[in-house]
């Protein structure tokens, strides 16, 4: 089976590689410690071939890591050429430019040897609960302030753990037990992949993956090219502002669809800034790819082949391709927007495939001390409303364009001893439309611990709301209040015991004109409190009698 795969064996072998990364993802989320890994799955597993091309990426991995491992491994191999690698070498880095955009993600890769040759690499990425420095947030002035930047190095050298690297971590992070345990979990996951890959080679009687890799990548590339060639050719542009640190940031997206390839060019985008919201190129690539994939072949698995017909260019020194030593902690607040620029550019040519803009994800980094005395560091996540679709409302409070799962109220309270006073939908926050955007939510939290609570805010959609499409209105804006007063979106705050923080997450944009919404759906929304009587009348033009539920169209 080295040169002529029949289509049946190809399908089985391909699916097996995907199964292995999914198995590994599941191992990692089961044995890891920090909330961000175990509850929100902020991690990924990838199998790459001997040339460093991605063959399979975990199906449920967070989209931030879509396809980035390929670039990271190139950096690894530049420092440690394959000819010098030994079995069970684990190479690592937290460098934002080589890895995944901020130094809280630790990237690792391990060569897989079979009969003395490297046949593949496995790559594991995980977000760690702390990396020292000023803690995850957006206000840092440079990378040095943000934490420990681990250069490309061997974490494990031919099976032996490099204790020096571990000690650097132990001496520099606030939650060393969890950080070390999570790193060990990543290594264990890589070892799991090694065993499964070797079993697979034995089962298929192959000595290397080269033919399988070529076939997977070639076919995937062809499928993507074919899907792209169905998009009307031309140049599509979308330029808009997104929330920045002190003022909005301009993002200019120019997409050219030419025959079977797409070139995305962000020339004209604002320059990098001296705060931690710069978005390194790998992250820019991941979210651009997510946007393109969602309107072309959303149902197919990820690998290098799917992204090779797509080029991504962002000028060096722009906020989408910043250079060291810029701070990047909150790169997600910029990068998460990018799929919406792809959709924005394509809305006129692919109106059935795009969705209106989203209220988006919010994170507040909370660090403090539980009343039982243990320190904690968690990312308090919450989701805004999802954008409306061409034939359907946007779901309430649903992660998009990224995908993360906030921890439940009961878990957060137990992990932190903070008190969550409420977590509920905000009426009229979803953008009105023939199809309504999803509602955002309000969360109010009180510091009921005996210690100060450090809050690092990372807030977007506070200024620029989620746009609606085709006459649909925008969703509501996000607000964060500290003791009732509006807070800066990227600053750090200290909450004394008894102080309160309130997050009002943004709504999703609507789709189509509000006047075209059916009366049945509108009444249902009003009954459910998603739309108020007043908005029904003023925005949708329908007066509803609260006693009889009779409706009248008004001008």
């Amino acid at each position: 089976m080295t040169s002529d795969y029949d289509p049946i064996t190809l399908g089985i072998a391909w699916d097996k590689l995907i199964s292995i990364v999914d198995e590994a993802f599941s191992v990692l989320t089961h044995i890891s410690f920090s909330t961000v890994l175990r509850e929100t799955f902020d991690c990924s597993c990838t199998i790459l071939d001997a040339k460093g091309r991605s063959l399979a990426e975990a199906t449920n991995a967070v989209p931030s890591f879509l396809g980035t491992m390929k670039y990271t491994v190139q950096h690894f191999l530049a420092k440690f050429p394959p000819s010098e690698l030994m079995p069970r070498d684990v190479i690592t880095t937290t460098d934002p430019w080589m890895g995944t955009g901020h130094l809280y993600d630790i990237n690792m890769a391990m060569p897989i040897f079979y009969k003395d040759d490297i046949v593949a690499y496995v790559g594991i990425i995980a977000h760690l609960s702390d990396m020292g420095g000023s803690r995850l947030g957006g206000s840092s002035r440079d990378i040095y302030e943000e934490g420990l930047r681990i250069p490309v190095c061997k974490l494990v050298d031919n099976g032996k753990v490099n204790e020096l690297v571990m000690d650097f971590l132990r001496f520099n992070v606030r939650t060393p037990e969890h950080v070390i345990a999570d790193i060990n979990s990543e290594v264990a996951t890589a070892l799991y992949c090694e065993r499964r890959l070797i079993e697979t080679m034995e089962e298929f009687h192959i000595d290397d993956f080269s033919y399988l890799a070529d076939t997977i990548i070639e076919r995937s590339e062809n499928i993507m090219r074919n899907a792209i060639s169905k998009i009307p050719q031309g140049e599509y542009r979308f330029t808009n502002y997104v929330d920045g640190f002190d003022k909005p940031v301009k993002i200019a997206c120019r997409m050219s669809v030419e025959e079977d390839r797409i070139d995305v060019d962000y020339s004209g985008t604002d320059p990098e800034v001296d705060r931690g919201i710069n978005c390194p190129l790998n992250y820019t690539r991941a979210f651009t790819h997510l946007g393109v994939k969602s309107v072309t072949v959303p149902e197919l698995p990820n690998n290098t082949g799917f992204v090779s017909p797509i080029s991504v260019h962002a000028p060096e020194g722009s906020i989408l391709n910043p250079q060291p030593p810029r701070a990047t902690g909150s790169r997600a607040r910029i990068g998460h927007h990018l799929p919406q620029f792809i959709w924005g550019a394509l809305v006129d040519v692919l109106p059935e495939k795009v969705v209106a803009e989203h209220g988006m994800h919010n994170s507040v980094n909370l660090a403090g001390r539980h009343i039982d005395g243990t320190p904690f560091g968690i990312l308090l996540m919450s989701e805004g409303g999802f954008g409306a679709r061409p034939h359907d409302d946007g779901p309430h409070t649903t992660a998009a364009p990224t995908n993360l799962s906030p921890a439940p109220v009961e878990v957060v309270e137990g992990d932190t001893s903070l008190f969550i006073e409420r977590k509920k939908l905000i009426p009229d926050s979803g953008g009105a439309g023939r199809f309504r955007g999803g509602c955002g939510q309000e969360i109010q939290i009180r510091n009921t611990t005996n210690d100060r609570l450090h809050c690092g805010l990372m807030v977007t959609r506070g200024t620029i709301p989620a746009r609606g499409y085709q006459g649909g209105l925008s969703g509501s804006r996000r607000e964060v209040l500290i003791n009732g007063k509006p807070a800066h979106p990227f600053e750090r705050y200290v909450l004394e015991p008894g102080d309160e923080i309130t997050i009002r997450d943004a709504g999703g944009g609507g789709f189509g004109q509000p006047g075209k919404r059916t009366i049945v759906k509108l009444v249902e929304d009003v009954r459910n409190g998603f739309v108020s009587f007043r908005a029904a009348e003023e925005t949708y033009g329908v007066r509803i009698d609260p006693d009889t539920w009779k409706t009248t169209r008004v001008e």
Binding site: I8, I12, D15, S26, S32, A181, P298, L404, P408, E410
Partner: protein, 695 residues
């Protein structure tokens, strides 16, 4: 005892399976009738009447009827439950709308989510608040409870109430007080509290489970009345039991208990299958078994280690996409961990955009069914491939009740697979066979990866109509060397109902550091919950000396998100250091490493209280006759390596224990067909199982 008979009835999506068993003579009769989804009691009584009529036995001779049903699951899937009102903690009325806030598919932005079972306008908030540690932060405002329920009844005509308070698993008194008030003021209402149905942390999952229970309560209540009446009319004087998914391997309860807990009746058919696999496995001393149950529309797997089916705290119902976890409603009750394995016989096969085969998730079901059924279906299915390969006998499907058309199967496979992939017909059919088997073995593997079991050492138990055709290949893909195919493999699940003991399982989330769990604390938590369950069992007629109590703790390193289940040995002295040893041993077995510096937490206290297992004699089989088992020879295809081979075809009913069979061969029985591959050998064991040795 003069009333020797027991009846097991399992209502499935397509068929209702009935088994009549004589405890004294071991005589067993089976009947399959079509299910009647609009009123499943019709099918149940038709099956029972025909079974009794054919055997000339009266209902008076039946001492117990054990019933498994999909009624509850169907009510949820078809959204045909009751009108439910929900009472919840002030500030948290939107939990059901917000879900877990993530997408079960990263790339599909047109994704759909299941609609909340209780719409927001039927939910009411009341003042009350409990902290994560069970302390009362705000008292329950009973007047608000009364007013809210009155409004829901008067204005909205709800007939069932779900009470869902935050952190109620840590302190259930507010929910209990609210329930008591509602029951006394509104005696006609059905009431479910989240702390009695699913006392576990995580509000969305707990609330969802509670509203599903409330939603199906009135339906199961009416259904049980109908069952009792129908049985009484037929002169039945014995006991009716309902099969529950909860407990180690499925358990029985009396209708009075089932009435309050319909959510525990979900998925009872597949769980009964795992139950019988475990029962047979134990008797033939296969300690570790992979239960592989492949039917018409779906295949389910279960890992049974040391005679204990693996368990999960959560499963999903009514998924929008069958194979996408997260697309349904979560239900958190302890139950057997069933894996959705992939396809069944009716799963439709096509070539996907990658140019490779894809099996399912769409199914042709029973109607129109596979192309070869000639019921109007034209799409290629797994069953069509099995027929093209020569594994199935077109004249003896369901014992000849359904004539299969090989020409239609060939045409379907040719068009759907052979032509687009440019393959010869038999290669295309074998490709379907291999792909579906790989899908199923991968499901077992992903599961093994999560839980750290070494599945190579397991025996694969293949049953269900299609299971014995595929079991050998699934086993081979998992590097397992033995396959066990039980007698009447297509109906053996219903037999699982007959061997199930009466039991109750209960769990409570009570989070504490291991150091705090002194032996006094341990007893303080366990004694009341164990005592209550023992009383229930005794009330059901189980003698106290026959009652088994087994305790397990969910534990983890502080900071982890997943628990490890640690079994507490009998007569164990629950000191923290002993529990630590148990935990570390189990953790090391699962994940090879332990984390010495991190404190250990106890999370859930669980207990299973069960009566004795009912016995079914496996060493005597109705229908087995002396004579030559050889029925003939049929050509079947076994892939590139072997090509077409002549297989001896055997009549399963003429095999006696000790018989041995050489592969390649095919063994036919009414409800299933067993394939033994080339180079494999099989024997018939003392329980009439066909045991295939692959290496």
């Amino acid at each position: 005892m003069n009333i020797p008979y027991a009846i097991g009835v399992d209502v499935g999506g397509t068929f209702t399976d009935c088994v009549l068993y004589n405890d004294q003579t071991a005589d067993m009769r089976i009947k399959k009738v079509l299910s009647t989804p609009w009123d499943s009691s019709i099918g149940v009584f038709e099956g029972i009447d025909r079974l009794l009529g054919a055997s000339n036995i009266s209902m008076k001779q039946v001492s117990r009827v054990i019933h498994g049903t999909t009624l509850v699951a169907n009510a949820v899937i078809e959204r045909k439950g009751a009108r439910v009102g929900m009472i919840t903690t002030n500030g948290f009325a939107n939990v059901l709308d917000m879900r877990r806030e993530w997408r079960y598919d990263n790339y599909d932005f047109h994704i759909k989510f299941p609609e909340p079972i209780v719409p927001r306008y039927l939910r009411r908030e009341v003042d009350e608040r409990i902290g994560y540690d069970g302390t009362v932060l705000a008292p329950l405002n009973k007047q608000q409870v009364f007013d809210a329920v009155k409004e829901l009844v008067d204005d909205e005509r709800v007939e069932s109430i779900a009470i869902c308070f935050l952190h109620s698993y840590a302190y259930p008194e507010h929910e209990r007080a609210a329930k008591k008030l509602i029951e006394s003021e509104f005696p006609h209402l059905y009431v479910t509290t989240s702390s009695e149905i699913a006392p576990y942390i995580r509000e969305y999952e707990r609330f969802c489970t509670t509203v599903i229970n409330a939603y199906t309560l009135p339906i199961i209540d009416r259904y049980l009345d109908k069952m009792k009446k129908g049985l009484a009319e037929r002169g039945f004087g014995g006991e009716l039991f309902l099969f529950l998914i909860t407990s180690c391997s499925g358990g029985l309860v009396k209708p009075e208990v089932a009435r309050a807990l319909p959510v525990l009746l979900l998925e009872s058919g597949p769980v009964a299958g795992a139950r019988i696999a475990s029962y047979i496995g134990k008797r033939r001393e296969s300690r570790s078994v992979l239960s592989f149950d492949m039917g018409g529309t779906t295949a389910k797997g279960c890992v049974i280690k040391d005679n204990q089916a693996e368990r999960a705290l959560e499963f999903e119902v009514a998924r929008i996409h069958r194979f996408k976890a997260g697309s349904g409603y979560p239900v958190t009750v302890p139950s057997i961990r069933l894996m959705e394995m992939g396809a069944g016989g009716g799963s439709i096969v096509k070539v996907d955009a990658r140019g490779v085969l894809q099996v399912g998730p769409e199914s042709a079901g029973a109607e129109p069914g596979p192309a070869c059924y000639s019921l109007g279906g034209g799409e290629a299915t797994v069953t069509d491939a099995d027929l093209v390969l020569g594994y199935l006998n077109p004249d003896y499907f369901l014992g000849g009740q359904l004539q299969l058309d090989p020409k239609k199967a060939e045409k379907a496979v040719q068009e759907a697979v052979a032509d687009p992939l440019n393959l010869p017909l038999e290669k295309a059919a074998y490709g379907i066979f291999e792909t579906v088997n790989q899908n199923m073995s991968q499901a077992f593997r992903i599961h093994a990866a999560e839980t750290g079991v070494d599945i190579r050492l397991f025996d694969v138990f293949g049953f269900g109509g299609a299971g014995p055709v595929h079991a050998w290949k699934v086993a081979a893909d998992l590097y397992s060397s033995r396959v066990v195919v039980p007698f009447e493999a297509g109906i053996v699940s219903a037999m699982g109902l007959l061997v199930t003991p009466l039991s109750f399982e209960f769990a409570r989330t009570k989070r504490m550091n291991l150091e705090e769990l002194t032996s006094d604390r341990f007893r303080e938590v366990y004694d009341p919950i164990v005592g209550e369950r023992i009383k229930l069992l005794e009330a059901a007629g189980v003698m106290s000396e026959e009652i088994e109590v087994s305790k397990t703790l969910d534990m983890r390193y502080r900071g982890q998100g997943f628990n490890i289940e640690v079994k507490v040995p009998k007569d164990f002295d629950p000191q923290p250091q002993h529990l630590r040893e148990l935990f570390e041993r189990e953790y090391e077995r699962l994940y090879t490493l332990t984390a010495k510096d991190i404190p250990i937490e106890v999370y859930n206290f669980k207990v299973l209280v069960s009566g004795p297992e009912f016995e079914v004699m496996l060493s005597k089989r109705t229908g087995v006759q002396p004579g030559d088992p050889v029925k003939g020879v049929r050509e079947a295809y076994f892939g590139d390596e072997f090509g077409h081979l002549d297989c001896t075809v055997y009549d399963r009913y003429r095999f006696q224990p000790g018989s041995s069979i050489e592969g390649p061969s095919i063994i036919e029985e009414v409800t299933s067909t067993c394939v033994i591959p080339p180079h494999a050998k099989a024997t018939v064991d003392e329980f009439y199982n066909v045991v295939i040795s692959l290496r």
